[in-house]
């Protein structure tokens, strides 16, 4: 045995010396805390972590992490991270983005990242508002949102981020919330473990410009009735005492009282089933509507079998070296046909 003991990292090791400058009470603090809590347990040297962000409140995140980091430009973190991961597959690359950053200005890169499936961990802070620019509606704001830029209410329909990601063939799609640290930690860890792009939507409260947007899902009084915590291999249950469940009637989901149905009839969560994940992604009703479905949290879908972009990209380089040998610059420059002038 060697006498060297790998140093055990703690969450403090991941905190940079920069003062955290989000508004007091912002949901971002919780996410920072959970990431700093999870990272030391991953058994990976600190220098292998890279956090890349775009622009927005959430995108200040890398400054507070004592890892390698880049606070880039609006919407482009996904593209930068793709380039980094393609060339440095040895690194653990994380993307920090918001609903405006990833789905408005960076929408194109976002969907193309998902279809390519580089092995990135994407934390999408969704607060349904533009915080840094002081409160305009975002592409996930509900229709009719009254903001400084939409005094008569927004006319745009919102994106459903989970459905968008599934539509772009993402291989890991999950949702969690700032107010549930344990759940958040578990989902972040699972995202890290997934080989491929892990997309985690985090409901994050902006207490200044959109306070309480997710209250109904996060606060004690309503959480149990309004949320559905999905667990692999277990029936989909919710309610004060898990007395309600979901049943599939063909492709149509139905809310049932579990007392009224046989346990065998309940929908058992299968993370590998894309069709069912797609149905769950549509549990996106306005909670004020009568008979609405509870909002699902947890892992919607995982496909661990799809090769990652970085694997495929680099395999071609290795294949070419194996087939043609390492390149010879002088041969390349000379080409096939030369002539001599004396």
């Amino acid at each position: 045995m060697t006498t060297e003991i790998a140093e055990k990292l703690t969450s403090k090791d991941f905190a940079s010396d920069q003062e955290v400058r989000w508004c007091p009470g912002c949901g971002d603090y919780s996410i920072l805390k959970q990431v700093q809590t999870v990272l030391p347990d991953l058994g990976r040297p600190k220098e292998e972590f890279v956090f890349i962000s775009g622009i927005g409140c959430s995108s200040r995140f890398p400054y507070y992490m004592d890892t390698f980091g880049m606070h880039s430009i609006h919407g482009r973190a996904t593209a930068i991270a793709t380039g980094l991961k393609a060339t440095r597959p040895d690194l653990s690359v994380w993307v920090i983005t918001g609903d405006g950053d990833s789905m408005s200005i960076g929408g194109n890169h976002f969907i193309h990242m998902l279809r390519r499936n580089p092995d990135l961990n994407v934390l999408l802070f969704n607060n349904q508002i533009y915080g840094l620019t002081k409160g305009q509606y975002s592409p996930t704001s509900e229709q009719g949102k009254v903001t400084k830029s939409t005094p008569m209410g927004s006319v745009d329909y919102p994106f459903n981020p989970i459905a968008l990601c599934l539509g772009a063939d993402a291989t890991f799609v999950a949702r969690t919330m700032d107010r549930d640290p344990k759940h958040q930690q578990a989902i972040i860890k699972r995202g890290y473990e997934h080989k491929g792009t892990s997309l985690i939507e985090i409901y994050q409260n902006c207490n200044v410009f959109n306070d309480g947007a997710f209250e109904i899902f996060t606060e004690k009084g309503s959480k149990k009735m309004e949320t559905l915590f999905m667990e692999k291999g277990k029936p989909l249950l919710f309610g004060e005492n898990n007395e309600k469940g979901i049943k599939l009637d063909g492709f149509k989901p139905v809310i049932v009282n579990i007392a009224d149905v046989s346990a065998n009839d309940l929908w058992i969560h299968d993370e590998s089933d894309l069709v069912k994940a797609t149905i769950l992604s549509r549990f996106y009703d306005d909670p004020s509507i009568e008979g609405h479905f509870p909002r699902p949290f947890g892992v919607f879908y995982v496909n661990p079998k799809k090769d990652t972009f970085d694997e495929l990209f680099n395999a071609q380089i290795e294949d070419a070296k194996n087939s043609y040998g390492k390149g010879d610059l002088d041969k390349l420059i000379a080409g096939r046909e030369t002539w001599v002038v004396n």
Partner: protein, 616 residues
């Protein structure tokens, strides 16, 4: 046997023109290879339509390829041509204005039938082969289609396949006219069609039929010798500009020991750099066709952060999209090469036509004070050298560098006395080293004598640090809103660009004396035309010299002094006066702009005329 007169010529310009599907690019490039191997100096220029398959027979569908070859040094593809090959009436109509009076027209009569006349908008009864309108030229009419079909009557091929061999007839005939060796074309056909023997034999047969047509008919009274040129001793190859640019980038990757990442999005006329690079994965060349131009450059910035030689490439419209990210790279102070193969703009402009109108964009086209290094290639082969230089400067100075080329030199070709890899200037790159907990804190914006900062790649223990687009405090790299710091950093980033002048060669006079009446100051792809014009003016007794800039930001340190030795400075450019603005601003030189903005390169003759006017 016919009685053919042999004559010797110093140089010849031939233009092959036909429909996009007539194989004129292939014919031209084969003639080029044969002439290069024979030992002529040469320059070529393809002129193809923007549409991939424009309607057959129309003016929009005409594709041309011009070659200028000679026993003297050749610097341009030639202003006007001596021989014009036309496969149809549209090709004649589009190109006859570039044929010298008395020049030879070789016309495929089958392309002048009623249908072709209608497609080319030529009125009925106005067939130019018959109406005397070509009386000033030496017109040779041949029914190439008919001869090709006859030659291949028993080939077993269909009419469509047979007609595709027509271009080989033209090639064979011109090989005969100019005593070109056919061996390389025969080898080419054998290799290209090795899987289809019938087509291979058909092409070989028609090539030979063309040669024999010259030999046996009495249509051509003259055959010409164009002796090998007196070139500098060495080993040569032919090279196109975009190919040379790609090789320059690869060479920089090999010499720096860094794998290359090229993040890009297809665009005319830059795509060939991507196509070329993507062939050489065994050199650790990693090409990424991104979803758009922005992702192209951003992925490259990610690769640069990770320690690769990172490059993005595009043309004007794409460069416009990359603007914000170039600003980011400037703030991050990471090495990045931005390749711009310029085309005529603005907006979509003339995608397949050339222009030099992105110089100010390269210099200034970003928000804030955002200087970058700018270099430009002057000829197809020079794309190798300047692409290499762009990488060297980017890597050694930790700075974004623009490499400018243009559609004219990107698609043009010339003989290249290529260097051996050992002759290339070394590129020294050193990543920041691992640090222990007991070492001082790592300072990501600490600077060396070039003002460049350490390249600290992720994965290196003890170097964890954050970079970004927000203003930095010098040395620490921490975010700083301090007013004095911002001004300091703006000036520092400018000084960092300025300091590159200490690491580039002094400007030399390309042609002419060290002082005189007039200096022709050019940059980029106009080199050949300006050099040819200067030589002619000097031969006529004018005191004119030519300086051609390849390092534009910063300029070589001696440029101001050099300009001061001439009474007049003229700046010819394919734009509305961009270098002249910068020169006037920086040196207070009352330079005279001479501008052409037609999507076409300068003709040496028009430069000569203009300079004479100025000197008059």
């Amino acid at each position: 046997m016919s009685t053919v007169q042999e004559a010797t010529l110093e140089s010849v310009v031939i233009r092959f023109a036909g429909d996009s599907g007539d194989g004129m690019q292939l014919t031209g490039s084969q003639f080029t290879n044969a002439s290069a191997l024979f030992g002529n100096d040469l320059a070529t220029f393809p002129d193809f339509p923007a549409e991939i398959r424009a309607p057959i027979g129309t003016l929009a569908g005409v594709s041309g390829y011009q070659i200028h070859f000679g026993s003297t040094r050749i610097h341009t593809p030639g202003d006007m041509c001596d021989v014009l090959v036309v496969m149809n009436v549209a090709a004649l109509k589009a190109n006859v204005k570039s044929l010298k009076k008395g020049g030879v027209i070789i016309a495929n009569t089958d392309g002048f039938d009623a249908k072709n006349m209608r497609l080319a908008n030529v009125p009925e009864g106005k067939n130019p082969l018959e109406d005397g309108s070509l009386a000033e030229y030496d017109l040779k009419t041949i029914d190439i289609t008919k001869i090709t079909r006859a030659a291949l009557a028993d080939s077993g091929l269909g009419t469509k396949e047979i007609d595709r061999c027509k271009n080989m007839f033209v090639l064979g005939l011109l090989y005969w006219m100019y005593h070109r060796p056919m061996a390389n074309t025969i080898d080419f056909i054998k290799s290209k069609f090795k899987k289809n023997e019938a087509v291979m034999n058909a092409n070989l047969k028609v090539l030979e039929a063309g040669w024999n047509y010259g030999e046996t008919t009495e249509m051509f009274a003259n055959r010409y010798q164009v002796a090998p040129a007196k070139m500098d001793a060495g080993i040569y190859r032919g090279i196109m500009g975009n190919q040379a640019a790609a090789y320059g980038l690869i060479a920089a990757s090999v010499k720096s020991g860094l794998p290359l990442f090229y993040g890009t999005y297809p665009i005319t006329p830059a795509s060939d750099v991507l196509h070329e690079l993507s062939k050489y994965k065994n050199f650790d060349i990693k090409t990424f066709q991104a979803e758009d131009e922005i992702a192209g450059i951003c992925s490259a910035i990610g690769a640069a952060f990770g320690g690769h030689l990172a490059i993005t490439g595009s043309s004007g419209p794409g460069i416009a999209l990359k603007t914000e990210a170039i600003g980011l790279a400037t703030m991050l102070e990471l090495p990045l090469v931005v390749v711009n193969i310029q085309r005529a703009g603005p907006s979509t402009g003339l995608p397949t036509k050339t222009e030099q109108a992105d110089l100010l964009q390269a210099f200034y086209g970003r928000n804030g004070e955002c200087p970058v290094v700018v270099v430009a290639a002057q000829s197809p082969a020079d794309c190798f050298t300047m692409a290499y230089e762009a990488c060297r400067i980017a890597l050694e100075h930790m700075i974004p560098v623009f490499f400018l080329s243009d559609g004219y030199i990107a698609n043009g070709s010339e003989p290249w006395r290529f260097p051996s890899s050992s002759q290339l200037q070394p590129i020294t790159v050193e990543f920041a080293k691992e640090r222990k907990a007991s070492d001082d804190k790592f300072m990501p914006y600490f600077r060396d004598e070039k003002l460049s900062r350490p390249w600290a790649v992720p994965g290196t223990k003890g170097l964890e640090h954050r970079i970004g687009g927000l203003e930095k405090q010098n040395i620490t790299g921490n975010i700083s809103y301090d007013p004095d710091n911002h001004e300091y950093m703006v000036k520092l980033r400018q000084e960092k660009v300025d300091k590159v002048a200490n690491y580039i060669p002094d400007q030399h006079i390309d042609t002419g004396s060290n002082s005189g009446d007039l200096l022709i100051l050019g940059w980029g792809g106009t080199y050949g035309a300006l050099k040819t014009a200067t030589l002619q003016l000097i031969a006529e007794g004018y005191k004119v010299s030519h300086v051609h800039l390849r390092y534009l930001n910063p300029f070589p340190k001696n440029l101001g002094e050099l300009m001061s030795r001439f009474k007049t400075v003229v700046i010819p450019e394919l734009n509305n006066g961009q270098l002249s603005k910068i020169i006037r601003d920086k040196y207070f030189v009352d330079a005279i702009p001479y501008n052409k903005i037609q999507g076409q390169p300068f003709m040496a003759s028009e430069v000569v005329k203009k300079i004479k006017e100025i000197l008059a």
